[in-house]
Amino acid sequence: MHMEGLPVEASDRTLSGRIQKAPENFLDQEGIRTVIAESKSGRRNFIRQAFAAAATGAAVPIAMAQSNPVPSEGGDPNILNLPEHAKGLGQGVAAEGGYGKPSQYEVNVQRRQSPGLTQTTQASVSFAPLQSLFGIVTPSGLHFERHHQGWWDIDPSKHRFMINGLVKTPTVLTMDEIMRLPSVSRFHFIECGANTAVEWGNVAVPTVQYTHGMVSCSEFTGVPLITLLELAGVDLKKGKFVLAEGGDGSSMTRTIPMSLITSGEVLVAYGQNGEMLRPENGYPLRLVVPGIQGVSWVKYLRRVEVGDMPFAAKDEAVHYMDLMPNGLHRQYTNIQECKSVVTTPSGGQLLLDKGFYNITGLAWSGRGKVKKVDVSVDGGRNWKQARLETPVLSKSLTRFNIDWVWDGKPGIIQSRATDDTGFVQPTYQQLRAVRDTRSIYHNNAIQSWLVQENGEVKNVQVS
C-alpha cells in the first residue's frame, strides 16, 4: 500500500532488495521464533501490533525500526501514569491577558535573522520558519520582515492616505474613511525579490528558513486601489504608472504596474489574517501587489501618485535590478516567477527512523495559480506528481504533499512547480545559463535537499 505513494517511478525496483516483504514473509518460522522470544520478554503489545499488521497486510515492514516501541515495563508511562493535566483543574479564560500566545513548547518556532547578512537590525531581514508551518497561511507573528529603515507602530487615527498626480481631484482619506469603503479579502503570497539570493552561486545557508524564508502568505483585507483612484477621478488615458510611497523615515517608493491596478488586484490593505496588519508588516496601511516582489508592497502607505512615466525610485534604480552577464541591469523586474520548495524533510532536519514520511512543501507563482507540483527523491532523475491541497488560489501559496517511505539510503529530494501559464520552475543550470550568478534577485531554481544515511538532511546543489 505504501508503495503507491512513492514518488519515484522506479521505486519498486529500487527498493525491492532492501525492504523485507511483509506481511507474508513475516509469519515464517524465523518470524514465529522471534515472536515467541519477544513474548517471553514481555513485549506483548508489540507482538499484538505486529500480528495485527501482518494479518491485515497493511503495515510497515518489520525491517523498519519501530519509532514508538513499547517500553520493557509493558506500557508507555505517558499512558500508564496519568499526568497532572488529567487530574487537576486547568486555567481560566482570558488568562493570557486577552490575547492568546502559542504553547510554551512552540518556542523554537521563530522568525530569525541570518547571521552576518546585515550590519544593522533596521535595514535587515528576519526569515519565516517555513520548516515548521502547516497549510498556506503564515501566522502574522511569524511573517518574514524586511525593513529598510526600521519599523514603527503608527497611530491609525493620525494616519492619512493621499492620492495625487494625474487625477481630477487630489484626495485625502482617513483610515476611518478607507475602512468604510467596500472591502475584499484575498489570500496572497508576498516574496522578497531577494529570497534565495544567497544561493545563486553555491550553497550558503543550512535550512529552508534561510534559503526560502522571505516568503509568507496571508489573507489580506482592504480596498482595491482602483476604487480609490476612481474616487479621485484618475486619468487612465495619460496615467500609465503609479508611484506608491511609505510614510516612515525611508518613505520608500516604487513604481506600481497599472495593469494590476486596473484589474482590481492591487489592494490598499489594512487587514491581515483577520486582524489589523502587524506593525512590522505596515500597520495601519500597506499596498498589496499580488504576484509582485515584496518591495512593491509599500508599508505605512501614505501616498500614491499617478504619472505618465516610471519613477526610477532608489529601490528600482539602485537595488532590485537584476545584473545580466553582459553588464546590463534588467530594470523594473517585478514578477515573482513560479517556484516551490520542500519544507519537510529539509536542510538541518533529522529523520529519526526509516519508514513512512509525508513530504510536504509550498509552491507559488506570481503569474497565477499553481497547476501541478512534481517531487523527486533521486535528485531529479525521476518525478512523481504531488497532491495539491485546497485551496489552490491565484498568486497565493499552495501546499503540496506526497507519500514517501524512506529506506534509510541517501536520497536527494526536489520539488518542481508548474503554473497555469505552463511555465515550469527552472533548474539552477537553466537559470545560470541565462543570468549567470550575479543577478541577486528572482532566484526561483529547483531546491535540492540531500537525505543522508544518518538521517541528517543537508542543503545541496546538484549538477
Binding site: E9, A65, Q104, Y105, V107, R112, S114, P115, Q119, T120, S132, H148, Q149, K168, V172, E177, L181, V205, P206, Y210, L231, G233, K240, S251, M252, T253, S259, L260, G291, M309, P310, F311, A313, A317, G327, H329, R330, Q331, Y332, T333, I335, T344, P345, G348, L350, L352, D374, G379, G380, W383, Q425, D436, R438, L450, N454, G455, E456, V460, V462, S463
Partner: protein, 358 residues
C-alpha cells in the same frame, strides 16, 4: 480664499462628473480634496525628467562639509565604506562617463557593485538623499544641502569637477555624464503590462520531464563541516514534535547506522531553548543602540565588549556618556546625545559596567 473657493468648486465639479460617468462609483461622504499645502508637504518625489525637483543649488565643497558631518559615519569619508552599508562610490572610470556603460559590471571577478556603478539616473540620487537621508534623521537636510551632497558624490566619482555647483538648472547636463546611464534594460518578461515593451516569454523554459530525466546526478555544492553551527543550533530551530527533529549542530554528525533514538534523547527541549533575554539587551534594540554598536566588533562606534572592558564598574560615568554623547575617546566620529529615559540608560550602563557584554 480664492484657492479655497477654487478647490471647493473643483470637487463639486468632480462629484458631478463622477456621478455622470457610467464606470465610476461614487461613495458620498468619503474623502476630501487635498489642499495645495498638504500636497506640497508630501509630494516630494523627483522623476528622471526632473519633474518635482525644487529650485536650489549646492557646491561640491559645501557637500563635503555636510558629508563629513552627517554621512561619513556610515558611508566613509569617500563613500567607500562597506562597514554599515554597501559602498556608494568606486568602480567607475572616465571611459564609463563617456560611454554611459560601466565596464566593471561585465567582469565576474570585480568585487562588489557600488551605487555609482549601478545607478543610471541622477534624479534617483537626489530623490533618495532628500527623502531618506541621513539614515537616523531623514528629511532633515535643506534643499541646498541635498544639492551639495549630490554634487559631492558626483565629484567623488569624477562626474563633476571640484569647483562644480549643482543646481536645478544644470542637473540635466549632469545626467548626460552619468557613468551607467545606458546600463538599463527592460527587455524581460517580469513587468506585468506592456508599458516597457518587454519580451513576450520568460527567459527559462524547463520541461516537466517525469522519467529518466538526468543521466547522472552529482552533488556540486554543500556547506563545509566548519559551517555546521554557523546559523546556531538547528535543533533549537525546529519544533520539538513532528515527523522530524532539528539536527543538533553543537555535536558532530552521527555516524550512519548509529541509533537514531539515542541522539533524539540528547535533543534540547523547548524549555532549555528559551533563554531569558537580558533586559539591557532588549533596551539596546529598543533605543537603536545596535544601529552603531555591535556586541563584539566595531561598527560605527566601539563594540559593547570593548566598552565593558575599558570601564568596569563605572556605571555613572557610562550613563553620563550615553546621555551627553561625545567624541575623541574611540575616534573622531561623534556619538550623539541620547534621549532615552534615565532608567533605561542606567540599566544599559550597569550592564556594560558589569561586563555583561563579554
Amino acid at each position: 480664499m480664492y484657492k479655497c473657493l477654487k478647490s471647493i468648486l473643483t470637487s463639486a465639479l468632480v462629484l458631478i462628473a463622477l456621478s455622470a460617468s457610467a464606470q465610476s462609483v461614487v461613495y458620498p461622504g468619503i474623502g476630501r480634496p487635498a489642499t495645495i499645502k498638504e500636497i506640497a508637504a508630501w509630494d516630494i518625489d523627483v522623476r528622471p525628467d526632473f519633474k518635482g525637483l525644487p529650485p536650489g543649488s549646492g557646491s561640491v565643497s559645501q557637500g563635503q562639509d555636510v558629508w563629513e558631518a552627517k554621512c561619513a559615519q556610515c558611508h566613509g569619508v569617500f563613500g567607500e565604506s562597506n562597514e554599515v552599508f554597501s559602498p556608494l562610490i568606486g568602480g567607475t572610470t572616465q571611459d564609463d562617463i563617456k560611454n554611459g556603460r560601466v565596464a566593471n559590471l561585465t567582469r565576474r571577478d570585480f568585487p562588489g557593485r557600488t551605487t555609482m556603478m549601478k545607478v543610471a539616473t541622477v534624479s534617483t540620487l537626489w530623490d533618495y538623499i532628500n527623502r531618506a537621508m541621513p539614515w537616523t534623521a531623514p528629511k532633515s537636510l535643506q534643499t541646498d544641502e541635498v544639492y551639495a551632497v549630490t554634487a559631492y558624490m558626483l565629484n567623488l566619482a569624477y562626474v563633476v569637477a571640484d569647483d562644480f555647483v549643482l543646481s536645478d538648472k544644470n542637473i540635466a547636463e549632469v545626467q548626460k555624464r552619468m557613468p551607467n546611464r545606458n546600463g538599463m534594460s527592460t527587455k524581460h518578461n517580469l513587468w506585468p503590462g506592456k508599458e516597457f515593451n518587454g519580451t513576450s516569454k520568460p527567459d527559462t523554459a524547463n520541461v516537466a520531464c517525469m522519467k529518466d530525466c538526468v543521466p547522472e546526478i552529482k552533488v556540486s555544492s554543500m556547506l563545509p563541516d566548519y559551517a555546521r553551527n554557523a546559523h546556531g543550533n538547528l535543533a533549537e530551530q525546529n519544533r520539538i514534535v513532528g515527523q522530524q527533529k532539528g539536527a543538533d549542530t553543537l555535536q558532530p554528525e552521527r555516524k550512519p547506522g548509529a541509533s537514531a533514538s539515542a541522539s533524539s534523547s540528547t535533543l534540547p527541549n523547548a524549555k532549555s531553548a528559551a533563554k531569558p533575554v537580558d533586559p539591557a539587551i532588549a533596551l539596546l534594540a529598543k533605543h537603536n543602540c545596535n544601529a552603531c554598536h555591535a556586541q563584539d566588533r566595531k561598527v560605527v562606534g566601539p563594540s559593547f565588549s570593548d566598552i565593558a572592558k575599558k570601564y568596569p564598574g563605572k556605571v555613572d560615568y557610562l550613563a553620563g556618556k550615553i546621555k551627553s554623547g561625545g567624541t575623541g575617546v574611540w575616534g573622531t566620529i561623534p556619538m550623539p546625545a541620547q534621549s532615552a529615559p534615565d532608567a533605561d540608560i542606567k540599566t544599559i550602563a550597569a550592564w556594560l559596567a558589569a561586563g555583561g557584554a563579554k
